[in-house]
């Protein structure tokens, strides 16, 4: 049986985590291709609907990552994101999507190495958890 390759959808903010990903790239630090980055201007604009949609479409893990508390380019977008993730953590386990499948991290613009390490760690965890329950049977 082929090795399980999880799909991780990562909503990353333009100012911190995306910049960190960029830094990882320009520094030629690799990170697993399981992670699909979606750049947003701020974690505060990540509507919980985006996260639900990702799970329903078969994401095995969803990451929302932005600036450290106090560093948000828009002052408080990351605090709003934190409350929304908190809300989703209270809902998703009830319908069989484990809490650990939805992650929130703070990765600053200069944390290229930290970014790559975090992505590696998430892939290890996602593999450990196995396929998410929304994963469709992909027809080829």
């Amino acid at each position: 049986m082929a090795e399980f390759n999880p799909i991780i959808i990562a909503f990353v903010c333009n100012w911190c985590t995306y910049t960190a990903a960029d830094l990882a790239g320009t520094s030629r630090i690799g990170y697993p291709e399981n992670v699909r980055l979606i750049r947003v201007m701020c974690t505060g604009m990540v509507d919980p609907q985006y996260i639900i949609k990702a799970f329903l479409e078969g994401a095995d893990m969803v990451l929302v990552s932005g600036c450290h508390p106090g560093d948000c380019h828009y002052i408080n977008g990351n605090y709003k994101a934190r409350r929304r993730i908190k809300l989703l953590h209270a809902i998703l386990p009830t319908i069989g999507i484990e809490r650990d499948r939805l992650k929130l991290t703070w990765i600053g613009a200069s944390d290229g190495i930290q970014f790559a390490r975090t992505m590696q760690e998430l892939v290890v965890q996602a593999k450990g958890m196995g396929p998410g329950s929304g994963r469709p049977e992909i027809m080829t």
């Binding site: 329903l56 929304r84 009830t94 999507i97 965890q125 329950s133 929304g134």
Partner: protein
């Protein structure tokens, strides 16, 4: 605490007694109009009616087991902009709690309102009410209360059976039958400063709240709590995976009646009515090809999960979503359960403290630190 009076009932006719009391309230200088649940002319339904003349109070019926809609939404219409008038509203406890949520959402205002409530004996679903009306005489108010208090097996809606809030703590005036010899006398509690101002205008006798009241209430509430625990246990099993959730909602036809009936579904325009979900024709074919097939209408679970995210924090468990479902999906069982989880996560209780901010309307730097992390 508050002013306690008694309302004498003649000929065991509770509704006429209540009507007399409401007439006195409407006669007060301070009240311009009154929103009450009133029997329609044919008598088959009980709808909220805005009344400015006391003769129209004939047919007021806040006790019969029909609860066709949560009137908080109607009160919101009456108060979202200042009218300069004072309105008394007679609501069930869950309607008052929904109204409190709407006020926090700036879709209503309490300052022009006098909130009146009655101990709530629960209600039937609309369908049950209609089928019972068609085949038999419905119990009168006193009989219905008696049946509820004696624990007799009645086709009460599941949301009401599992509701542990039969009394409205925030009502300015609470009319009570728990612990009373209700065929002869009801309790009237003027619970707030606004309520107390009216107490003297009403020609009612002072009375002590009987000790029996809290005993009977506690017993009633504890029965409701066990029903709730049972309901949650059942629904938890039926919705514990996306596959099971799909089965739970398999009869859903995306009519969105649950959203319309929900008193706290607050968006002015629902995202599911916008272009976001007006997919390209080609898109459906892409989805069908990717998975081999796609059920239409699609986005069913997406809709219900979105609603959970949007309104579960304000869910008061009134059960109107289930009531409105044309295909008898027990929507409110799930929403009430998830609502309890989400509200607990933020140490929030929908519909109780008007000064407690909605969880998603405020945020702080140092909070919920355990949410972030790998």
């Amino acid at each position: 605490m508050g002013i306690q009076r008694s309302l004498n009932i003649e000929n065991e006719d509770i509704l006429t007694g209540i009507q007399g009391f409401l007439t006195a309230i409407l006669a007060s200088q301070d009240i311009d109009a009154m929103l009450v649940p009133k029997r329609t002319s044919a008598g088959h339904s009980i709808m909220p009616v805005l009344i400015s003349h006391p003769r129209e109070l004939n047919g007021v019926d806040p006790i019969s087991p029909q609860f066709p809609l949560n009137a908080a939404r109607q009160v919101s219409k009456l108060t979202k902009k200042p009218s300069g008038k004072k309105i008394a509203v007679l609501l069930r406890p869950c309607e008052i709690r929904a109204l409190i949520e709407l006020v926090k959402l700036k879709q209503g205002d309490l300052s022009s309102l006098l909130l009146i409530s009655i101990d709530c004996p629960g209600a039937y679903s609309n369908k049950e009410w209609a089928s019972q009306c068609a085949t038999q005489d419905m119990p009168d108010a006193a009989e219905f209360i008696e049946h509820r208090l004696s624990g007799r097996d009645l086709p009460i809606a599941k949301a009401c059976d599992a509701c542990e809030w039969p009394v409205a703590a925030l009502a300015d005036i609470q009319i009570g039958f728990f612990g009373m010899d209700y065929r002869k006398q009801l309790l009237v509690l003027f619970q707030t400063a606004k309520g107390e101002m009216l107490a003297d205008e009403m020609a009612l006798e002072s009375v002590q709240v009987p000790e029996h009241r809290s005993r009977q209430l506690n017993e009633y509430i504890s029965n409701r709590r066990s029903a709730k625990a049972q309901m949650f246990e059942n629904v938890r099993k039926k919705t514990n995976s996306l596959t099971n959730l799909e089965v739970y909602f398999e009869a859903c036809v995306n009519c969105y009646n649950c959203r319309v009936a929900c008193p706290v579904c607050y968006c002015r325009e629902c995202v599911f009515n916008t272009d976001v979900f007006d997919h390209d024709s080609y898109q459906y074919l892409v989805w069908a090809r990717r998975n081999g097939s796609i059920k239409l209408p699609c986005d069913t679970l997406f809709f219900h999960l979105t609603r959970l995210v949007h309104m579960s924090l304000s869910c008061v468990g009134c059960g109107q979503c289930t009531n409105a479902c044309p295909n008898d999906i027990p929507v409110s069982d799930l929403f009430r359960m998830v609502g309890e989880d989400t509200q607990a996560a933020f140490d929030y209780e929908a519909g109780f403290d008007p000064d407690q901010a909605l969880p998603l309307s405020e945020f702080k730097e140092n909070e919920f630190l355990d949410v972030a992390g790998v």
